[in-house]
């Protein structure tokens, strides 16, 4: 982790333990709240139903229907929480640690899709999701 080297040596062990705990907690909130928001949005749009008419008036009707559902406000709340925890994390942790860690969202999103929304995940899709997660982590870490 960049930036740890500037700490005083006598405080280093204590600070790093505290830092890693705080970082782990915020990372967990970031990934779980962000993915939870995505899953809640997916749940809302499945309730609204497949959009087939793309005229501006029809799209406004879809949006107004979506925003009348409680799950949509839960989704926005979770996404806001994820955003705030990202901002907090970036104030003390390097982007090169934070962004690659969010690659876990793809796997957690897929688990949410499977167990909460009833999506059928084949081995091919799982393989793709794992490759994408590792790939995003490498791109951001590189």
């Amino acid at each position: 982790m960049r930036g740890c080297g500037v700490r005083k040596p006598d405080l280093a062990t204590h600070d790093r333990a505290g830092l890693s705990m705080r970082t782990a907690l915020c990372l967990a909130i970031l990934v779980l709240a962000g993915t939870g928001g995505d899953i809640a949005v997916a749940h809302v749009m499945k309730q609204v139903g497949e959009v087939k008419n793309f005229t501006p008036r029809a799209l406004l009707r879809v949006l107004s229907r979506a925003f009348r559902l409680r799950w949509m406000w839960l989704a926005l709340g979770l996404m806001t929480l994820a955003f705030l925890s990202l901002l907090a994390l970036l104030s003390w942790e390097a982007v090169s640690l934070v962004v690659p860690a969010t690659a876990l969202s793809y796997v957690i999103g897929a688990l949410g899709g499977k167990f909460l929304l009833g999506e059928q995940l084949s081995r091919v899709r799982w393989g793709g999701i794992v490759l994408v997660s590792v790939g995003v982590a490498l791109v951001c870490a590189g």
Binding site: G49, V51, G127, V132
Partner: protein, 138 residues
Amino acid sequence: MTSHRILVVKTSILVILIVLFNSLGNVLLGKGMKQIGEVKDWSASALGAFFVKTFTSGWIWLGIGSLLLFFVAYLLVLSWADISYVLPATATGYAVVPLLSHFFLREAVTTLRWTGVALICVGVAFVSRTSPRTTGQG
């Protein structure tokens, strides 16, 4: 065109729009915030001035508009496609940036990053071989 083919085509179009508007929105917000400058004075009046400066910037509004379009496209695609299909498919954006920066800006891209780009491309190819919708809806 079969209904499955139509589903794949419209999902792909929306995924491209999501990647495009999301990346564009972030770039525009970044440009706007760089023009406005870093917050150094945390007094109420300075923060008020910063707020006014931010929300009177054309770049910021273009960025917000682009991110709103991203969100609408995201909502639309999720009305018919699986979240476990859409999320990894939109990761293409992470691969596009190093590719564009290498070929258009001649920036050096590390081997680690190229490996990541390759894995994302193969992963998205795998995911796109599956049906965008596996639930009974529709």
